[in-house]
């Protein structure tokens, strides 16, 4: 195989972006084999923007069964990610799933199982993992040289969206169509990064506010308190209603502190001693450990979506590493599910969460979810990824 023949399922904001990347020659290992979308308007748009000979389907399952492809990229509404991926693996295709992995972990656990059994390449579109500053945070913290984590704080409120955004799709921001709001749509990146960099919490207490800033039934404002297995605590604050928002990710550790300020700077405050030892032995009540403060050097790279796709084809063609293994998608989703469940039950939720209880509570909300009409608008998403 010289090229990976790819089927793209879902041609909304994301799917159409991937078509452009292919057309622009940014993912040279890819040959577009087929596309699918349930909306006539989108299939018409894409037919005018792809080479002759690319197969066009109305239904993703039809594409999987009938198109001549090696791999699929799934960029549909979230509930469809796992069933399409499962069908893809069973058909012998490699699968790249856009975020989130799915809407509930029980569904994603099944997808992971089928993926594992298939032996096919399984990747997640966690494009923000290609950001060199997040990569460096992962290396520094998971590498262990800064000691144990003491506190995590991420204010990630720069996901501003207007009412028009929510009105654009009939599935958007509904329990039945999307499965959630800012946690399911914008934050899968951040929830993945926070677990990739800091590990999984052991308990979550969240305060989700539904339709606080927009006329929607799902959450557009979340404050979550996290507890980690070692006793460290954290906060995760997000919204699509703040402008200008903030993106400030800070991790305090035994040997210092890392602050990623909106991707503009990554500052390391490195102590000369372990604070835990210093605290116990210092003579003065107001003594402070010595430290050095500096900007962490990175290579500045950030290949984003294109980087994820190139790594996906690299794994298929040459066995090189993925940006994010598909099976890891369940972690950020577990955080999201725990935040929803905590807010619904008005209490702390332990991780791993009770997946059946979550699904039962979600289904209660889906059953009451009113039908909504979408404007069908496709927006240019360039510059909106906060990466």
């Amino acid at each position: 195989m010289n090229k990976v023949k790819l089927g793209i399922i879902g041609l909304g904001n994301q799917g159409s972006t991937y078509i452009k990347a292919i057309n622009d020659g940014l993912v040279p290992d890819i040959e577009l084999g087929a596309v699918a979308d349930r909306l006539d308007s989108r299939r018409e748009w894409v037919s005018a923007n792809i080479p002759q000979g690319v197969q066009v389907f109305k239904d993703g399952m039809e594409l999987i069964k009938n198109a001549k492809c090696d791999a699929i990229l799934i960029a549909t509404p979230h509930y469809d990610h796992p069933p399409l991926a499962i069908e893809g693996f069973r058909t012998g295709l490699h699968v790249l799933v856009d975020k989130p992995a799915g809407v509930y972990t029980k569904q994603v656990r099944e997808m992971n199982k089928v993926a594992e059994e298939s032996g096919k390449v399984f990747a997640m579109m966690f494009n923000q993992r290609t950001n060199s500053k997040f990569k460096k945070m992962h290396e520094l913290i998971q590498g262990g040289s800064l000691g144990a984590i003491k506190r995590v704080s991420w204010i990630i409120t720069n996901w501003y969206r207007t009412q028009s955004y929510y009105d654009s799709g009939d599935w958007r921001a509904t329990w039945d169509g999307e499965g959630g709001g800012v946690l399911l749509n914008q934050c899968p990146h951040n929830l993945d990064l926070v677990q990739w960099i800091c590990g999984m919490p052991s308990a979550v207490r969240a305060f989700c506010h539904n339709g606080k800033w927009h006329n929607i039934e799902v959450e557009d404002d979340v404050t979550a308190y996290l507890e980690y297995p070692n006793g460290a605590t954290g906060t995760f604050i997000t919204s699509t209603g703040d402008f200008p928002g903030t993106n400030r990710f800070e991790v305090s550790l035994e040997w210092g502190k890392l602050v990623n300020d909106d991707g503009r700077s990554l500052t390391l405050y490195k102590l000369d001693s372990n604070e835990r030892e210093f605290c116990k032995t210092a003579k003065g009540g107001f003594d402070k450990p010595k430290m050095t403060v500096g900007e962490v050097e990175t290579d500045g790279s950030n290949e984003a979506h294109v980087g994820v796709i190139n790594a996906f084809t690299g794994r298929i063609l040459r066995g090189t590493p993925l940006v994010a293994e598909g099976r890891e998608g369940i972690n950020g989703l577990a955080l999201s599910n725990a935040m929803h469940l905590s807010s619904w039950l008005d209490k702390t939720v332990k991780l791993p969460l009770d997946e059946d209880l979550f699904l039962a509570e979600l289904n209660k909300r889906r059953a009451l979810s009113p039908k909504k009409e979408g404007s069908g608008k496709v927006f240019d998403t360039s510059g909106t990824y906060n990466a």
Copy 2:
């Protein structure tokens, strides 16, 4: 009266600082009239550092009854603030109370009542209100030109203290001696400022961790989630165990955002339109309000403790404004009490809080509080106020 003859009750870290300010001529309206401290070692130190003729008492109540003073400054352990202030007002003295106003609001409510009835000047040592950046935040937000508050976030973890600090006083960091930890000792400033600048929340959910970073029985790590009457939310995060800590106070409003970054900068992100209107009328899903970003100019002043004392004597001698009215001390304490109560009950606490319930829960902890011996060390506190 040309000068205010002042009695200082309590000669620990704070009281000794005030003596130095008087000796250094920084509070020219003050004539030191008397001092009181229960510890022999402190009375000996102060006797060598004050003018002849200043009366020295072992007991604050004795000073109030017998010293020839116009006013008292109370810098004792916290439980004694209200009873000493009440006795002072009843004796016809003006009263300046160091923070916090007391340990529980029920006690402070009584102090406020007696103060009101006495007609005497009543001030709180909220020295951080003299900081020009906090003053500007108060003016801009309470002035209303930025519209309603949407989100408040204060990470104030730069109150680092060593074990030696906690070992220095027998009353420190005990339920029975101090009544709490970081919320009662370090954070009264921040809790006062957050209510002075943003108003009082209507509900609090807090997660206090006792003895997490130090061998103490009270909290040294707190994450609190706040809800305001208008639906805005907030977080308040503090600790004496993080180094280096963070001091970042951000307020998001309808017309923009204010960020006070460790007192180094106060940045205003000012929108051209009210975000609430913009959200509803914008055509594009990813449209953003226009804004201008700039550093807020202030006069740079920060008179701190000396400013509070000079304003106190100014009110007594010339009727000029105080930095902080004494009766306002109850607000920050109510926040602190609500955070403790929420954590103890493991649930959300509405404000105004149930003061009897709080006191009953506090007294349970006081009854179990073991006796502790203090090293008696007095530390130089210059540069430790985060002002």
